[in-house]
Amino acid sequence: MSEIVIKVENISKLYRLGIISHNTLYQDIQSKWARIRGAEDPNTQIDQLNSGLKNNECECFWALKNISFDVRKGEILGIIGRNGAGKSTLLKILSRVTAPTEGKIKIKGRIASLLEVGTGFHPELTGRENVFLNGAILGMTKQEINEKFDDIVAFAEVEKFIDTPVKRYSSGMYVRLAFAVAAHLEPEILIVDEVLAVGDARFQKKCIGKMGEVAGEGRTVLFVSHNMNAVKNLCGKVILLEAGNLVYEGDTHKGIAQYVNEDRIETTTLDEEYLNSIMTGLILERNPTIRFQQITISDMNGNERATFRSDEEIKITMRYRCYTKVTNLRLLITVLDSEGNRIMNTLNYDDESELVSMPREPGTYETICRFQKNIFGEGHIFFTFGLINGDLEHVTIQKGFHIKISFYPYSSCNEKLFEFVNIRPLMSWRTKNSLREIV
């Protein structure tokens, strides 16, 4: 077995919620003085006194609780978990942006992360100056940057503009240059946080490609993602975080299965806030053209639910807003199985009536997709949604609904011979007694 390069020992991180201090220095000194004299703190809230709580015992939140794990050299470790499970906090501690409340981490080698792309770029400086500045911020020495400078510029394809201030760059050039610096960092340990890597789909693909390359050279990668396909393809091992606890460590497939079977089964409506917080893809932050507003799942009578019989139709209602005139709007629903494999796609363009209704003027729209009955088999399935405006903007909701299908009528056959699969459309079966014909 290869040597351990990251050893995380009992890491915990406490955040205080709400108001952190009394806001003014005067009141803090007053409280401290009162404590020294043994008197009552004049700034304590009255309800806290009544409930017998001490000032420090409330409003605390453990973002991480007693996390321990090891990472070995050359390993690609996937870190998965829901929003708020503590993934980003863990990465922040690993990259030394913030300190843990308890515990210890030992690291062998230099850590760099692709979430730092473009950190410290200054618009007034030229491309050349920014490469040096950004490289130095990421921990490279001047000499190292000098050696790799030509490679970085060639990789970013900005040779002609390298002595132009970056404020004159197109946004594509800007991102390419920033990424090129990070890509040439050659750290022993690379951190990739997909959630924070805002950029177009191509850029994210490039990040992921770089990751495989890095691991191929025997270096170590930590990968945070909601995209289970990417995790499955890349990672040899995963850890699963749930509300700050490490609930699983080990085999990728088992970890993903545990993750996707978590309790989202109750959810039947995704509201705007949730959708905006988890959307990925090619996102225009400042001038959005399209955004989801609400997605609901229900039966044909409009009753929202998350368990269906296989002989029931499923209705998915997507409400979204077009901010500009959209000539080529596509809606995509992908169905995944409990291991995160894509098993089915459907696109609004498949139905001719949707083609006819283009282009869409600015405004709010509601599109309904009806899944016919008798498509799915027994088991859990997952929905992801895409809202696509030509090549301009792609909004992807990776974690949509999780529903349970029970097959009906239940076939009474030997379960040992029969393994459930998620697609089990109703076919027509007919039997003739051929023996009689022969006779």
Partner: protein, 282 residues
């Protein structure tokens, strides 16, 4: 297993109070140079007058002081030409106060970059102090020109051996400005109201420093109090070196050095305490 080989880095929950890794700061010297360059270029690009902007404020302030405090209030200047007397105080004070105000919002102004990547946080205030040396030198050039003009035209000024101390005075001002600045910046992560207090305090501090008046005019029973202000000795020595007038004593210089060292130490102490976890509170 050979797991017990040396680790390159350890991240601990708690650390001692004085936890500044100066060797690490030295390793990041390239970054300091680049930050200095960034600040410098960012300020001058696309301004027509460029560095001239550093010349006008102290010059005008000196003229205004000469009119108000010299001609109207008739505060004596130890027999020196008033403009020269005020200008010497103003450029020294400007360097110190610029260092202090610029470093005092280190954490808040840089929370974006600090939130993404680790490098020794002290890199930022140190580079600010260095950048400000350039603007000091520009103003110092202006001072020298006016100084030479008075010297040639025979004003009663006598440059002396204390001129050798000027670089050290600059270092002391840098240390004091840095110390105060990082102290305030560490406290502002919790107490935002300090930013406002600083604006007012720096104004008052200037009047507690012999800039618009010479130290010789301070009543005898208050000398000890004004000597507690570390800037008193700095400004007075600076003036003495160029003009040859003033009444600075060695005990005042020693006291000022001790207080400077103490403030710098206190600043680093708080800074090292805050830098590890300020991202959670900002």
């Amino acid at each position: 297993m050979k797991e017990e080989t040396e680790w390159t880095m350890e991240i601990h929950s708690r650390s001692g109070w004085f936890n500044i890794d100066l060797a690490e700061l030295w390793r990041y010297r390239d970054l300091i140079v680049l930050f200095v360059r960034r600040e410098f270029v960012a300020v001058y690009k696309q301004t027509i007058l460029g560095p001239a902007w550093f010349l006008l404020p102290p010059l005008f302030t000196a003229i205004v002081f000469a009119i108000i405090f010299g001609s109207i209030a008739r505060i004596p200047t130890d027999g020196q030409p008033p403009v020269l007397f005020y200008l010497a105080g103003i450029i020294a004070w400007t360097y110190f106060s610029n260092c202090m105000t610029a470093t005092s919002n280190t954490f808040i102004a840089n929370s974006g970059i600090f939130g993404k990547v680790y490098f020794p946080r002290l890199v930022i205030p140190v580079s600010i102090v260095i950048v400000n040396i350039f603007s000091f030198l520009i103003q110092f050039g202006l001072f020298l020109i006016i100084y030479l003009y008075y010297l040639i035209s025979g004003a009663p000024i006598s440059p002396n051996i204390w001129l050798c101390l000027v670089p050290f005075l600059l270092i002391q001002m840098a240390a004091l400005g840095l110390g105060m600045g990082i102290l305030v910046s560490s406290l502002t992560t919790r107490y935002r109201d300090l930013t406002f207090a600083l604006g007012c305090g720096i104004q008052l501090w200037m009047y507690a420093t012999p800039i618009v008046y010479p130290l010789s005019q301070v009543p005898h029973q208050w000398i000890w109090l004004i000597s507690l202000n570390p800037m008193t000795a700095v400004v007075e020595s600076f003036r003495f070196a160029f003009l040859g007038s003033g009444m600075i004593q060695s005990w005042q210089i020693v006291l000022s050095l001790i207080i400077t060292a103490f403030i710098l130490f206190l600043g680093i102490l708080f800074f090292s305490k805050v830098e590890r976890s300020f991202m959670d509170t900002v």
